[in-house]
Symmetry: C2
Subunit: 492 residues, 2 copies
């Protein structure tokens, strides 16, 4: 069957790579760094999309669609943004292939079809969107603009990993325009909060909300807020970011509006995004050496029923009971699969659904029919119990919430245990090496110190937590004064 995974302890990175492929989430494609998201993986992504989309719409955002390509002249209009992305751009230079006369049948790029201006495949859409907003915004009456886009983007990464870092990925990018700085800042905050709410409530993954340091900010942003999660190997993962762009893009694209008071001012901007990277975070937060562990709220199949039988007659009896359960469980809003394939044995199915992280498995055999019971197996705890047939629907429905909460609690306990306060750089290095996780330390506030620490330890400042206490201290590296702790970690 080839389902045996490398264990996390053996090689966490290998465990992840194997799991993503074996659980049918995604695989590498023939295109360098680009992945194929397989149906089972895509079904999880669709559930994520549906919830996020609902949350965006409930806060007044609308979806729209902007071009895949950014003409080079637009791309470079906002200098910092261009500088930040120039090194990883896929560039379209031609618009036609032709048959190579010297090499019959082979196609080559047609040199006569060279574009006058090269097109960058969007690594992010601020440029093309702000160039559009210029025509949409004249007066304060046109504001705010609250738009989101679901799209693919391309960033030419040299070292890629399924979901975590791919040359093409899927994401949503919100781009809003506001009349005032305060309003734009409030939007930036709101969307970061929505991301936190989604990741905590649906992915059952606890996050820390905070602001990025200057070094880690989005290219072209004045502030980047983020949510940071912790994976089981003690490395942090940035799960979402929300940027306050100030007036940078409005200035680069000359977007001004007539104020209520009769003035003319540049517009304030935000942008915010989460991507298929969340799939990687989901896998790494909960899964174990047997495979995926999915929170019920995002599981494409929440309950699977496996019949155990030797004769057709037994299967008929079991099917009758199982079909009744399917109906009753669906009536509770649950997504249920009755796997009555005769091409695979029960043991194979058990391993498969374990690997794919189905939260609850019900097995029904001839003895269960006699006794009026069902064997219920819980994926997160790997525990089994027999449940009376007439109690199983209620039990399973209740379990969905219980499992969702248990996964969150487990992840939160792990995360909380892995936030370590340190007072010296030696301690910093030791904790980083032996325990990992977030290191809460004083920092003198300079990019130089941050860079030096990164150089020495590979740890970066994940965020300045919003809820940090004001607390005088000495920088863990330089000893210079600090006003509060920030969180360091090695990160994905």
């Amino acid at each position: 069957m080839g389902k045996n995974l490398t264990s996390r302890e053996q090689d966490y990175s290998k465990w992840y790579n194997e799991l993503v492929v074996k659980a049918d989430l995604a695989e590498n494609s023939a295109v360098r760094g680009c992945m194929v998201i397989k149906p089972y993986g895509y079904a999880i992504w669709e559930k994520m999309q549906a919830e996020l989309d609902r949350m965006f719409k409930e806060t007044g955002h609308q979806n729209a669609y902007f071009p895949l390509f950014v003409p080079k002249s637009l791309f470079e209009a906002e200098e910092k943004n261009a500088e930040g992305f120039a090194k990883e751009c896929a560039v379209v230079t031609h618009y036609r292939l032709k048959t190579d006369e010297e090499n019959k049948g082979k196609l080559i790029v047609d040199p006569a079809a060279k574009l006058e201006e090269e097109l960058v495949v969007r690594p992010t859409s601020e440029a093309v969107i702000w160039n559009t907003y210029k025509n949409w915004i004249q007066s304060y009456r046109d504001l705010p603009i609250l738009i989101n886009q679901w799209a693919n983007v391309v960033r030419w990464e040299m070292r890629t990993r399924l979901f975590l870092r791919t040359s093409e990925f899927l994401w949503q990018e919100g781009h809003t325009a506001h009349a005032t700085r305060q309003e734009a800042l409030a939007e930036t905050k709101q969307m970061n909060d929505i991301y936190a709410e989604f990741v905590e409530n649906f992915m059952a993954t606890p996050v820390i909300k905070g602001a990025k340091t200057e070094n880690e900010r989005f290219a072209g942003a004045e502030e980047t807020y983020c949510i940071e999660a912790l994976m089981q190997d003690g490395k942090a993962l940035q799960a979402g970011t929300s940027h306050f762009l100030g007036q940078n893009f409005a200035k680069a694209f000359d977007v001004k509006f007539a104020t209520k008071e009769g003035g003319l001012e540049h517009v304030w901007a935000t942008s915010w995004g989460v991507s298929t990277r969340l799939m990687g975070a989901l896998v790494m937060t909960h899964s174990d050496d047997k495979g995926l562990v999915l929170p019920p709220k995002l599981a494409p199949i929440q309950v699977v029923i496996v019949p155990i039988y030797k004769s057709e007659e037994q299967l008929d009896q079991i099917s009758e009971v199982a079909n009744g359960l399917v109906k009753d469980l669906r009536a509770k809003g649950l997504s249920v699969k009755f796997d009555n394939r005769d091409t695979q044995k029960p043991g194979w199915k058990f391993a498969q659904y374990e690997l794919q992280g189905v939260p609850v498995r019900l097995a029904i055999g001839p003895k269960d029919i006699e006794k009026g019971t069902v064997e219920l197996a819980r994926r997160d705890t790997l525990t089994k119990e027999f449940v009376a047939m007439d109690a199983v629907v209620e039990k399973v429905a209740a379990l969905m919430e219980e499992i969702q909460d248990a996964l969150y609690d487990k992840a939160k306990n792990y995360r909380d245990e892995h936030i370590t306060k340190v007072e010296s750089f030696d301690e910093f290095k030791e904790v980083l090496k032996k325990k990992g996780g977030f290191i809460s330390a004083h920092w003198d506030g300079t990019p130089e110190t941050e860079n030096k620490i990164k150089e020495l330890t590979k740890a970066t400042i994940r965020c300045v937590p919003f809820d940090r206490k004001e607390e005088g201290g000495a920088c863990v590296l330089t000893g210079k004064p600090s006003m509060g702790r920030v969180l360091f970690a090695k990160a994905y």
Copy 2:
């Protein structure tokens, strides 16, 4: 206000272009041939997506995602397909920009970052998908594969029009793999039927189902089935296609499976797609000189309520009534907007919602409050009536179906009146010139005759209708024998 449209009679093409922009559906972008789909247009597309996606899933299909890029060597593996799309490919040749030292601050393509193999931006995904299926299919147990993808594709068109023909467009593309020819053919037929059902029931646009001639087939297909609609200017529009690909892609990518009987055979394939082009069809089927007319099932706003007031006190009274209506209409599952903005006058709002095709408008003024009435205006017929307040919810709910049906009937009557049987080529040309629409004529079955007719008249064979009668006759151009009529038309 700038809302006055060119009339259809004046200039149909101009009317369409203006309408799409003024009704806030889409606009041209800074990127040649690529459009921006604005929130109102995108909301309609989302409704289309939701219905189609549901229909695909109900017939056992799953969504997945494949790479945007196709390496040139894969792209050219299936020769006919490659030949068909080579002339309109956007090609990525480089993966980095750099600062031009001789022209400080400007970015140029970095010659050191040339790709070893060029990447084609997908014009369609058969190549990249069949290269993937190769690894997914070993045995009959792995079949069928029933996958759909929602994606953007790029075909470098020289003459573009919003929605109808754009260099980048959004679409879905189904790609299925089967063990037998019959099964693949049945799938091809099923998906064409699903498209017909969607376009007729949701877009209220009647279609003719049929097969394409060899000339008009998808590059690489053995059969292309299609649904053809008729626009108000007498031109046909291909609204969806479903292709039977035979074993062409399986052979090009060497995809074989072990049969139940122990043999080894090439897999049978289908692909099928509809795109944002449907938005163009929707606009052109129903709209009038006042603006869009949307079928209720796809209208982002089905009912708008406009208050008519002079004082704040009146507005308060009206709002109380309106909010009650909003609640009751929403309880009926309707999408309702109460437009109480004080920045725009009622007349402006009336024109705006007419332009945007909101099916039903309710206006409430102080006199209505006194009398217990509401003014109800119907967009499709441009008729108005007063309705008793306590009857309005039922009335509006019933109207949704009535309007949906009326739009379909109107379009069907127009379409049926514009199918003309002709017996001579003179008649053919005259009908085409004076009346337009579908011309039902005998054809000798050769590509040469089809090409000649196209050359002489610009009309092409839209399809060989599935329901055509067997009827001996003489080709309208050559006089050679024909077994039945086919439908010609000028087309978008």
